[in-house]
């Protein structure tokens, strides 16, 4: 029996002693005796024996103690499940750019084709429908409308949607990623029929901040008009959700809370949420890299929002449960489709000819099979020695594939792609434990009498997520 490489044994200031295992995603609280027992195992000693069979059973169940080769086998199962998901053919997830033109000139934008006049032609739209039909096994289609600014080609969105709905699939749904400036009443009233269940609109702060960063072609302000449109959206019969994305860097970080407070107050009770996101420089943007937060700084901001303001990171403080996570960049048949029918594996690559993997007009659709294979298989973290040696692989799953591609295969070694858990796991766990403590205390406050706590010396704070066999329902 040996100590798992995915364990983290730690003491905290004022919160106690804990052991976390990333493979089972379990957090266990320990008293001093049980902590010392595990410390002995961690150092390679075999204590005189764990007399508490219950504790030993827990350690085995939660993979804190493992047999030789056991972790490798579990990772193999994970890799198998990941690949099964990658090659699933029952669902098709497309990001479609009906145009790459944009009516904004945001200071940090990574795209270079905003001024070009490329809109998706009728011929390409027809070919797109035919190409989708060729995926004879799909049951569901999900589309993310992207760009450029997709609302510049709203007619194309309408035309394509009409065709998507006539495909006879079990499910079709769409999301819209827009700067919000053109989201007028005429378009709002059509959103439900277009099956757009989610809209993401970006605001970078209150007006005085936003209007220095997200400006019209020619430099005009945009905040007031966007807010009018969001207000109209919230007052409409639109049944989906509105996500306000706030692109943050060192220059507007301090304004996030004011914006969030303003929006959540103004649209209280509505389906609107506000999400902080990171400005990153991965291409040749003129925006200075020094303006941006690195992964560690971002994690610090994330944690401060949680600790001081009760604003949780997306997905919560506790590392998320395993869910066969594969970004669409890694999914074999998912693509971003450009206005000329060109195919990319990630929306962040649009407009860059070197990142094209194919074209729906080509006789053999995939014109660069090696690049597609690189995304689907080459970036598999279970093939990467660095990832396999990392203690947080089970809760990271390799990070952003596009950023890994650029860092590992395009010479862009300065690009970060690892999860914040790699360096800040204990910080996130401590923040979670702090929340649990507060919750327990609040619960005890509201119960009369005293609460007697079973003193077994250890207890599970968070459960493991038991993954089911994907092959039981995979249609691929």
């Amino acid at each position: 029996m040996q100590w798992s490489r995915y364990n983290k044994l730690f003491r905290t200031e004022g919160l106690g002693r804990f052991c976390y295992n990333a493979l089972s995603n379990t957090l266990i609280e320990l008293d001093e005796t049980h902590f010392d027992l595990l410390e002995g195992y961690r150092r390679g000693h075999e204590p005189s024996g764990i007399e508490d069979k219950g504790f030993f059973g827990l350690l085995r169940e939660k993979r804190v103690l493992v047999k030789a080769g056991e972790e490798e086998n579990l990772l193999l199962v994970r890799q198998h499940r990941r690949l099964a998901n990658c090659f699933n053919t029952t669902r098709l997830n497309l990001t479609i750019c009906p145009t790459l033109r944009c009516n904004f000139r945001c200071v940090y934008c990574f795209e270079t084709t905003q001024a070009e006049g490329r809109f998706m032609s009728v011929e390409t739209q027809e070919r797109l429908i035919a190409w989708i039909r060729e995926h004879s096994n799909i049951r569901t289609l999900s589309v993310s409308w992207y760009g450029g600014e997709p609302l510049l080609a709203f007619d194309t969105i309408c035309a394509l949607t009409e065709n998507f709905l006539s495909l006879g699939l079990a499910q079709y749904r769409a999301a819209l990623f827009t700067n919000g400036y053109l989201l007028d009443h005429e378009k709002i009233v059509q959103l439900n029929d277009l099956k757009i269940v989610s809209i993401e609109i970006t605001l970078d702060g209150l007006a005085e901040v936003h209007d220095t960063r997200r400006v019209l072609v020619g430099g005009g302000p945009t905040y007031d008009r966007i807010l009018e449109n969001v207000s109209a959206l919230m007052d409409s019969d639109y049944s989906g959700e509105c996500r306000i994305r706030v692109n943050l860097d060192k220059r507007n970080l301090e304004g996030f809370l004011d914006l969030r407070s303003e929006l959540l107050g103004r649209f209280k009770g509505k389906k609107l949420s506000v999400h902080p996101e990171l400005v990153t420089i991965t291409w040749e943007q003129s925006y200075k890299r020094d303006n941006c937060l690195d992964t560690g700084e971002w994690a610090g901001f994330d944690l401060e929002l949680a600790r001081r303001h009760g604003i949780l990171p997306t997905g919560g403080l506790h590392p998320p449960g395993y869910s066969y996570y594969v970004c669409m960049a890694g999914m074999n048949q998912d693509f971003t489709v450009g206005p000329e029918g060109e195919l990319y594996k990630c929306g962040d690559a649009v407009g860059r000819s070197a990142m094209v993997v194919g074209n729906i007009h080509a006789k053999d659709t995939i014109t660069h099979p090696e690049l597609r294979a690189q995304y689907t298989i080459g970036l598999d973290p279970y093939r990467d020695p660095e990832c396999l040696a990392c203690a947080v692989l089970p809760i990271c799953e390799g990070g952003c594939p596009q950023r890994r591609m650029l860092a590992k295969h395009n010479g862009r070694e300065e690009i970060e792609y690892c999860s914040p858990y790699k360096t800040r796991l204990q910080d996130y766990l401590e923040a979670y434990i702090d929340t649990v403590r507060a919750w327990e205390m609040c619960s005890a406050l509201l119960q009369p009498g005293s609460i007697s706590v079973e003193q077994s010396g250890y207890r599970v704070i968070s459960p493991a997520v038991e993954a089911q066999n994907p092959l039981a329902s995979a249609g691929g």
Partner: protein, 95 residues
């Protein structure tokens, strides 16, 4: 009376062991809250229940995540579809 006061009270309970013991030595819930009020924390039972609910949401969020299955609703991302920006995995570039 305010939610903010309720949160400040819970923070005090978390950090001050003597204060916590003093409050919890009182057996009845209403009496405990009265003592909290007399210590300068002005909040109602409803407000502390709201704090409890928010904390409960924070405790469970993300922990039970993971579809654990391969159904039509699971597009592979831990983030709910559509792909927004899962905080530590998918960093779709800012637009």
């Amino acid at each position: 009376m305010s939610l903010e006061q309720a949160k400040l009270f819970m923070e005090k309970m978390k950090t001050d062991e003597a204060f916590r013991a003093k409050i919890m030595a009182v057996q009845g819930v209403a009496e405990r809250l009265q003592m909290a009020n007399s210590e300068g924390y002005d909040f109602t039972e409803e407000e502390i229940k709201t704090v409890l609910a928010e904390l409960g949401d924070a405790v469970v969020e993300g922990v039970a995540g993971g579809a654990g299955g391969d159904d039509a609703e699971n597009y592979g991302c831990r983030e709910e579809w559509p792909c927004g920006c899962w905080r530590d995995s998918c960093k779709k570039q800012s637009k």
